[in-house]
Amino acid sequence: MEKKYITVSALNRYLKYFFDNDKNLQNILLKAEISNFKRHSRGHLYFTLKDDSSQIPAVMFQSNAVSLDFEPKDGSKVVVEGYVSVYEPIGNYQVYVRKMYESGIGDLYQAYENLKKKLSEAGMFDESHKRPLPQYPKNIGVITSPTGAAVRDIIHIVNRRYPLARIIVYPTLVQGDEAKYSIVRMIEKANKDLLSDVLIVGRGGGSIEDLWAFNEEIVAKAIYESKIPVISAVGHETDFTIADFVSDRRAPTPSGAAEIVVPDQNTLLMQISGYTRNMAVSWQKYIQVKTDMLNTLRRSPVILNGERLLEKPELKLASAYDRLLQKRPDRILDSYREKTNNLKTRISLVLENLRLALETRVENDIDRLELVNPLSLMKKGYAMARKNGTIVKTVSLLEKGDNIELQMSDGIVGCTVDKIGKD
């Protein structure tokens, strides 16, 4: 019977595949003590993680080790976050450490992870709960320390970008045991006085303990329940707090929050001149379309040569007259002649009226188009009268004592009607 052999490499590759596909091993949080600590010349850290009865090798690569905020050594009690995988060349499994904290802080980190999981499962981080920020906030509530660098940074940047805004500082403690209550009180206060269109909640950088208030459940709840949209702005770019997950928008830093919260005035100015240009173009296009319509109307036969319309009915009359003449019943003829003459006059009258009506309409349209550029007309001394914002086209719309506005080329005059005469 033939046996099937596999190579050692294949076995280790298979084992690695096994480890790497186990979800439980891909994100672990481990509490342990460090031993056999070695720092490689390239900056990678190699050590053993152990407890009273067991141990496992661990590696922390230089790219992760640079962000350590303490000096690990043998005997350090730590909490590490990372994953477990197989190192194929020697067939051992080990912990690949992404982040490592000292034990006391490690406990904080664990509390952070637990709370994050709890609130996430409760749906408090859901995108669907996040509200859009106002585009042009008038009042910006800033909940932070009134003496820190954060408030100064925010004021300076808002001032540079959008000086139209007003900032209301809600002073709070931002570290220490009382900070969480202080922050919650101010979020609630801002939601009660409703002076702000948007809130920035945060502080400048610091250690994980310094930032801790922003990882407290009551702070998260207050942000979640705020009716006013909240931008979180805690610490540095790399700091993620619970407040960041629950807020409507996370800013990497307090300065970043100021950049997010208001538009830039230079961009706005450009936008506004763009609007002016668009309106002018739309207007010109509109006038062009109307002018073309008018020209078509002007070229129509009725306007060019109204008399021609009369030709056909006149011919008809003539032939009817001829036919009557052929029958020669003289007396009837006379009455018919009278009738046809009558008819002829009436038709002429109708046609004349029609022509007049059409001409008047065209003239009206021309008048209206002249209005297109009211300013140039007004410069000649014409004025446009408005009553309650509506253009007054006839005196019959006015009564003695009415207030009207006269739009002239360089301004508006308010007038009171004291005499009305009809032309």
């Binding site: 585009q135 000086p163 139209l164 506004i272 609007y275 668009n278 207007w283 209005l371």
Partner: protein, 73 residues
Amino acid sequence: METKMTFETALSKLEEIVRELEKGDLPLDKSLEKYQEGMRLAKFCHEEIQNAENVIVKLMKDDKLEDFEEPKE
């Protein structure tokens, strides 16, 4: 006359008018009115930005707004 409008409402009104004029389906009177109003709003917004001085900063202290004194570096 209308009461003093804010930059925010003026700008959103302006944006609306630009959209309406671009469609080009209003009657002449209305169009002219919108065009003039749009130009007036654009001028207003422009001036609001140009004339804006420093951002106003207040401190909420004991339910009252006070002038805020900026912390020194």
